[in-house]
Structures are given as structure tokens and as C-alpha cells.
Amino acid sequence: MPDKVYMLPNSPAPNKGMNFDAMRCNGCNQCVEVCPTDVMMPNPVKKTMPIVLYPEECWFCGACVEECERDAIRMTQPVGQTISVNWLRKETGEYFRLGMKNPPPPNLRPPSGEKRRRRRV
């Protein structure tokens, strides 16, 4: 239960766009800099994660995720999207979906070209 309740406009659902890991983010604002649609604003509190001011302008491209050197950002797709992405495991007949409660273990295979990318970095 929150200790105080404020008058606030509705949350701009369904879009949240991105979630920051407060432990990893150092408030460098590089994500703020590169976002094509200027969804985030620098936080007035220095060294703190940005404020997502215009979540509905996010087009879910992943530029912020790619740009973050500290791996502090997770893309959070609208529930209307995650509820839609379903898959069926052929061998077992199990049904999975994005955002499910007890997901299967992650598939750790990187995209093609990743090896080369790491070498270059």
C-alpha cells in the first residue's frame, strides 16, 4: 500500500517502452542522446536514470538498449504485444508466450555476426 495517494493523470499505458536497472544505470544519458524520438529526459538528480517523459513516442527500435554500455535498459513491450507472441515447442507440445510467469530458460545463442563484433570492440 502506498503511504500517500496523489492526483495524477492516467498512466500513459500501454506503453512503458523501457525499464532501467537502477543498480547498473549511472545516469550518463547516452540513451537520452541517441533516442530518435526524444522519449527520455535527463533526470534533474544527477547520476540517476533518465525520466521517460514521452513513452507513447517510443517506436520500440532498441536504439537505447544497443547504446547502453552498462546493459542497464530492457525493452518493455506493451502487454498487448507480449500477450500476442506465442510459440509452441514441437517436441513437448508446451505453449509459451512473451511475459509468461515461469518462462523456459533463455536461448543464449547470439545473433549471427556477434563474434566478429566482439572481436572488433
Binding site: P2, K4, Y6, L8, S11, P12, A13, N15, M18, N19, A22, V34, P36, T37, D38, P42, N43, P44, M49, P50, I51, V52, Y54, E56, E57, W59, F60, C61, G62, A63, V65, E66, M75, Q77, G80, Q81, S84, V85, N86, W87, L88, R89, K90, F96, L98, P103, P105, P106, N107, L108, R109, P110, P111, S112, G113, E114, K115, R116, R117, R120
Partner: protein, 670 residues
């Protein structure tokens, strides 16, 4: 804590605007070449112009490092006809496009891209983009050439479409611009083109813009200008809360380039062409759902009982093997490939596809929904290439799909991805993630600046590059290629033209217009409300079926929106001011589309254009272009043959025209 709501709860007050507010402050940026729009076309244009030794400035609504429709990556490159493995010539390809669209495409842009798209890709490789399978991950695959290590898509026999690892292509263009000293202006919403003496139709000498973070007024003075802006996803459809995750264009796609060119007096063509708004965002995130189109071309679809949906060739003949899905059928020359900005394919060039009677077969119970994409039917290399390489490198799929799905446990080696569950007729097109078609939603398709063999528009000093500004022009690779080409021409012009002189009266009038939304009462509508209204007018009065009274009414409602609600609309900060100015451009663009629709007094199959007051389809006397421009605020139109690019003053053959347009340059190089 990262949302605005959380901040308010923690601090008890709204955070102040984080950037300095510089309304009314003027900054003048002078260059030889100005590029408007910094996606892949604009960025490549800036690079090519800088390499010609001229001073270059580029203005972009977002941030040049990752912005634009191609800003977050690309997985394949079309029309690379001159790559060492291609069996398709530039002429074959261009004629195939023109034949498919019955002349309603752009022979100039197509031929130029076919001639130079491979060279442009090699330039990208020099910048660091991986275009070859250097790790030998796909050694021995049918879609790979073991000598050059190039990888091919869609037509493994003719090899003119290349698969590339383009996820970091935009940052690499960005570093190259930086290295070459391009003046990069981020967060600028361009509001107008400046012309000599402030006259409509005169030489273009620069542009004006507003900074979306500071509100500063930026005046660009340039010897030559290249329009390389994006499309206008917000014109017919605006509901970002619902559609942003699935839309194929960003909020920045506001048709600004078209609108400022139209206002400056440039000629535009095919603006009456619209298509079904399949990618407007009411479906599902691109490539996130089971489907068999574009990136997923060639994949097996099975029904809920595991029964496979047959693939057929362009003539409807059932294919026996998976390999055949990637090869031209008997009697076919080559496959043009999907997603090249044409709405129709002539049979000799059309890719294989799922059985075309699939909706009927779902309706009669032969296939049980839901359907699934089963990648396990593909060879291991084909599957890895589809999901690991293409989905892993394409914009809007690397993080949103590859990263998201694999982290959630999806494994293409084991799992079948479910297709959306829809009414049977929605399975007519194998791009299932686009969702069921919505009848009143359209999107622009093919219209843009009329260009000559130099990619110059009808205005002196103004060039166009990219698949949105140039009419009938293609996809990602084509955008780079046109950018590179137009930049050479613009730079050559800039080296010899007279000094550009700005008209102070024109600048002052534009400045006054640009700041109008910050001076209004707070009771005025916001930009989102205005954008909703624009989209509503376009849906209702410029939908698939049009007639004279509907279009005239639509025009008067758009004018009303501008003069009434638009004039009173309020923007509380520079960001919303920028979005509002984009809305004003959208109104202008909507008017242009309606004027173009009024001008074509017939119905047309190839343009998916339906005048219910002129229902006859494709009357021969209307098989022509109708370029439109403004002069002293009045609409001027003329007729142009569909093959104007091969008629006087041009030569009758493509290659001859290309050589003539590039002769001087070759001499210059020598």
C-alpha cells in the same frame, strides 16, 4: 524510478525543462550543401558531398547516430546488380520494375540505384559494415558464394539481392560524417525552404528549422539543398499509444520534406497513390508473429494439426521442395524480391508465395487455425540465416524480436511461432504480423518529388534522395545509393553556382509562423489532438474511394483545421512545438494528396486509386503522370508521359542517359 509519474510522487512537483529555452534566438548555419533529413539517405548524402570537398550541414529531427527508418539496422540490400555474382543487369531490373508497375514507377531512380547500389555497399563495407560471411558460418550454403563470401537473398540463382549484417550501419555512417567534418544538427524540425527573393518556384537557398530541445530558430543558408526526409506515417493513422510498437515508421515521419518542397514550388508526382495501411501499427510488432513474408520468405507454415500450407510459384503451380521457393520458376527470368516499394509484380519477376487460396481453404476447414511458422523444416543454415542473421540484424527486429524472444526462451530450432489469429480473408497476404486490413486506413505509397537524371527536383538548387522524397524509388539500399548520387550532383552545382542570398522578409515571416503555437492561450488544442483530427480528415475524405465533393470537402476541412484549431493550438515546450510544426506540415501534405487525387479524373488499378465519380479503370488517355506544383499559391498541373525519362530532352535509352548525366563527373575525376 524512471517514469514522470514516479518523479512527481517522489518530489511533489514537476521537473523543470532540462534544456535552456532559446525561443526567438537565431543561429545561422552556412554550407555549400545542406541535407534535410538524416536517415540513411541523408547521412550517405552528407558523406558523399563531404568527399567532394564542399562544406556540408545536415539537419535531423532525431539524433544522427541511430535515427531514421533504417537507423537501427538492415539485413538485406536490393538491386546490387553490379556485384560480381549478379546475373541481373541494371536494365533487366529497371525494366522489370517498370513492367510490373505498368510505368507508374521511377525508371531514373531505379536505373541509378541498379548501377550504383553495389558500389555504395562497398563504401559501407569500407566504413566497417560486414557484408561478407568472413567467419565462414554459412560455408557451403546455396545462398553463399564461397569465393567472395557474399550472401544472397530471395533468388539464389540470380544473386542480385545481398544479405548483410547491417545492425550497426547507422553508427558507422555517423562516425564517417564526424570524420569528414560534416556539421551535424540534431533535434531540428525543418519548417520551410528558403528561396531566392522569397518567391515560390525560385532557386532554393536554404531552410529554416526549430530545435526541439531548446526552441532555437535555425537558419540554414546553402548553395544546394538535398531533401532526404522520411515518409508520413502520422498522416492517415495516429494512435501512438496503441500502434507505436508495431508501426514501421517513427513519430518523426511527418512528411516534412514533401510539405516544404510543395510550399517552395517544387513539382511532385504520384501523390494520389496510396495503399492499404498494413504497416500502420494496428497489427503486431514487425516480424514478431508467425508469417511467411519478406524476412520469413520461404519458411513453412503449418496448421494446428501440423498440416503444411503449400507454396506456389508466380503462376499458381504448387512447389515440391523448399529449395524451389528461393529459385525462379520455369518461364521466369528472376525474382525482384519483396519490399522494393512496388505494389504489383509482373509474373516473370514475382516471388513464390503461400497458396493464394489459403483464405478459402481455412474457411472450408482444410487448415485449422492457428497457423504456425515452423522453421525446423528449413536446413540448419537457412534457419540460422533467417533468424540469427536477418532478424538479428534488421532494424526493429534485433532488440525487439531477436533479443526479446531469445531471452524469453524462444528457440527457432525447436519452437513454432504462432501466426495472429484472424478472419480467413486476412491470410490473403503472407505478411500476417501486419494484422487484418483496416479498410479506411491508407498510407502514402510512391509519391514524391519529380526528379531528373541528376536527381534534381524542378527547382534550381534542390535535389531529392531516399525512397520517400523521390517518387517510386525502393528500399534501404536504394536510399543510400540515391543519397550518394544526389550529393555528387548537388556538390558539383554548389561549386559553380552564385552565392545564395536569403530574403529577410521570408525568414521573418517563417519565424513568426514557427512560434505561433507558444504564443497561444493554454486552452488551445495540443499537437496530439490536432494530429488525431488530421488523420481523421484523411481517413474520411481521402480513403480508398474518392469523389470530387468528398475531396473538396476534405480540402476545406484541412484549411479550417489550419486556420481555426491549428492557429489556436498551444505548445508548452520546445518538444511539443516541434511536433506541432510537424502537424502543420502534415496538413500541407494532406492538401497535396487531395489536390493530386482531384487531378486524376479516372480510376487506376496500379495506383490502387478509386474515383467513384470516374469508375472506369485504367482508361488509356489517363495513362500518364500529372505533376503538380504551386505558383503564387495557385495549383499548376501538367501532363507527363510515363516514360518521360526516355524522351526528349533525354535520350531514348537508360544507359545513354546515365552516361550523359555522369560524363562531366568522370572527366572531373580524371
Amino acid at each position: 524510478m524512471s517514469t514522470w509519474h514516479e518523479y512527481i510522487e517522489d518530489h511533489g512537483s514537476a521537473p523543470e525543462w532540462p534544456y535552456p529555452i532559446l525561443y526567438e534566438k537565431e543561429t545561422v548555419i552556412q554550407s555549400d550543401v545542406l541535407v534535410v533529413g538524416g536517415g540513411v539517405a541523408g547521412s550517405h548524402a552528407a558523406i558523399a558531398a563531404a568527399k567532394q570537398g564542399v562544406r556540408v550541414a545536415i539537419a535531423e529531427t532525431g539524433n544522427l547516430k541511430r535515427s531514421g527508418s533504417g537507423g537501427v539496422g538492415v539485413d538485406h540490400w536490393h538491386a546490387a546488380c553490379t556485384n560480381p555474382c549478379s546475373k541481373v543487369t541494371p536494365l533487366d531490373y529497371t525494366e522489370a520494375v517498370m513492367e510490373s508497375m505498368h510505368g507508374y514507377s521511377n525508371g531514373i531512380a531505379r536505373y541509378i540505384t541498379c548501377k550504383e547500389s553495389w558500389d555504395t555497399l562497398l563504401e559501407c563495407e569500407e566504413m566497417g559494415v560486414q557484408i561478407r560471411d568472413e567467419d565462414d558460418e554459412f560455408k557451403g550454403a546455396e545462398f553463399r558464394d564461397d569465393e567472395t563470401k557474399l550472401m544472397f537473398g530471395y533468388d539464389y540463382q540470380n544473386r542480385h539481392i545481398l544479405r548483410i549484417w547491417g545492425h550497426n550501419l547507422k553508427p558507422l555512417l555517423y562516425y564517417e560524417m564526424k570524420r569528414l567534418g560534416v556539421v551535424m544538427c540534431n533535434r531540428i524540425v525543418i519548417t520551410s525552404l528558403l528561396t531566392e527573393g522569397g518567391r515560390q518556384g525560385a532557386r532554393v537557398v536554404g531552410a529554416t528549422g526549430v530545435n526541439m530541445r531548446t526552441g532555437e530558430f535555425v537558419i540554414f543558408q546553402a548553395r544546394a539543398t538535398i531533401i532526404a526526409s522520411g515518409g508520413a506515417g502520422r498522416l492517415f493513422s495516429f494512435a501512438p499509444e496503441m500502434t507505436a510498437a508495431a508501426a514501421m515508421s517513427t513519430m518523426n515521419s511527418a512528411g516534412t520534406g514533401h510539405a516544404i518542397g510543395w510550399n517552395a514550388g517544387a513539382e511532385l508526382v504520384l501523390m494520389e497513390q496510396t495503399g492499404p495501411g498494413r504497416l500502420s501499427g494496428y497489427g503486431y510488432a514487425p516480424y514478431s508473429m508467425g508469417n511467411a513474408h519478406n524476412t520469413y520468405h520461404g519458411v513453412s507454415m503449418v496448421d494446428s494439426n501440423g498440416k503444411e500450407v503449400p507454396w506456389v510459384d508466380a503462376y499458381g503451380r504448387e512447389l515440391k521442395t523448399i529449395e524451389e521457393r528461393f529459385l525462379p520458376a520455369r518461364d521466369q527470368k528472376f525474382h525482384l524480391g519483396p519490399g522494393i516499394g512496388i505494389s504489383m509484380y509482373a509474373e516473370p519477376y514475382r516471388s513464390s508465395d503461400l497458396a493464394r487460396d489459403l483464405p478459402e481453404r481455412i474457411r472450408n476447414g482444410e487448415f485449422q487455425l492457428p497457423l504456425y511458422t515452423d522453421m525446423t523444416h528449413l536446413s540448419e543454415m537457412e534457419r540460422r540465416c533467417l533468424f540469427g542473421m536477418m532478424i538479428g540484424n534488421e532494424g526493429k527486429t534485433r532488440i525487439p524480436i531477436y533479443d526479446t524472444l531469445t531471452k524469453a526462451g524462444f528457440d527457432p530450432d525447436k519452437d513454432m511461432l504462432q501466426a495472429p489469429v484472424m478472419a480467413p480473408e486476412a491470410y490473403q497476404h503472407s505478411n500476417f504480423w501486419g494484422g487484418p486490413p483496416i479498410p479506411h486506413l491508407r498510407s502514402l505509397s510512391g509519391g514524391g518529388f519529380l526528379v531528373d537524371w541528376n536527381l534534381r527536383t524542378s527547382l534550381e538548387g534542390l535535389y531529392a534522395a531516399g525512397t520517400s522524397p523521390v517518387f517510386g524509388a525502393g528500399c534501404h539500399g536504394e536510399s543510400h545509393t540515391m543519397g550518394r548520387y544526389a550529393a555528387r550532383k548537388a556538390a558539383a552545382y554548389a561549386k559553380t553556382c552564385a552565392e545564395p542570398v536569403l530574403d529577410r522578409k521570408q525568414v521573418a515571416a517563417e519565424k513568426s509562423r514557427a512560434y505561433q503555437p507558444i504564443r497561444q492561450s493554454k486552452r488551445g488544442a495540443g499537437w496530439k489532438e490536432l494530429n488525431h483530427a488530421i488523420a481523421r480528415v484523411m481517413q474520411d475524405y481521402c480513403g480508398k474511394y474518392k469523389n470530387e465533393p468528398i475531396l473538396q470537402r476534405g480540402l476545406s476541412l484541412l484549411r479550417d483545421l489550419r486556420e481555426n484549431e491549428g492557429a489556436a493550438a498551444f505548445a508548452p515546450n520546445p518538444h511539443e512545438l516541434g511536433r506541432m510544426l510537424e502537424c502543420f506540415s502534415l496538413i500541407t501534405l494532406g492538401e497535396l494528396v487531395m489536390h493530386a487525387s482531384l487531378a486524376r479524373k479516372c480510376s487506376n488499378t496500379y495506383l490502387d486509386f478509386h474515383r467513384i465519380d470516374y469508375p472506369q479503370m485504367d482508361p488509356p488517355e489517363w495513362a500518364k503522370h500529372i505533376p503538380l506544383r504551386q505558383e503564387d499559391g495557385k495549383i499548376r498541373m501538367r501532363e507527363l508521359p510515363l516514360d518521360f525519362h526516355l524522351r526528349a530532352p533525354y535520350a531514348p535509352a537508360y544507359e545513354e542517359n546515365y552516361q550523359a548525366a555522369n560524363k562531366q563527373e568522370v572527366l572531373g575525376h580524371a
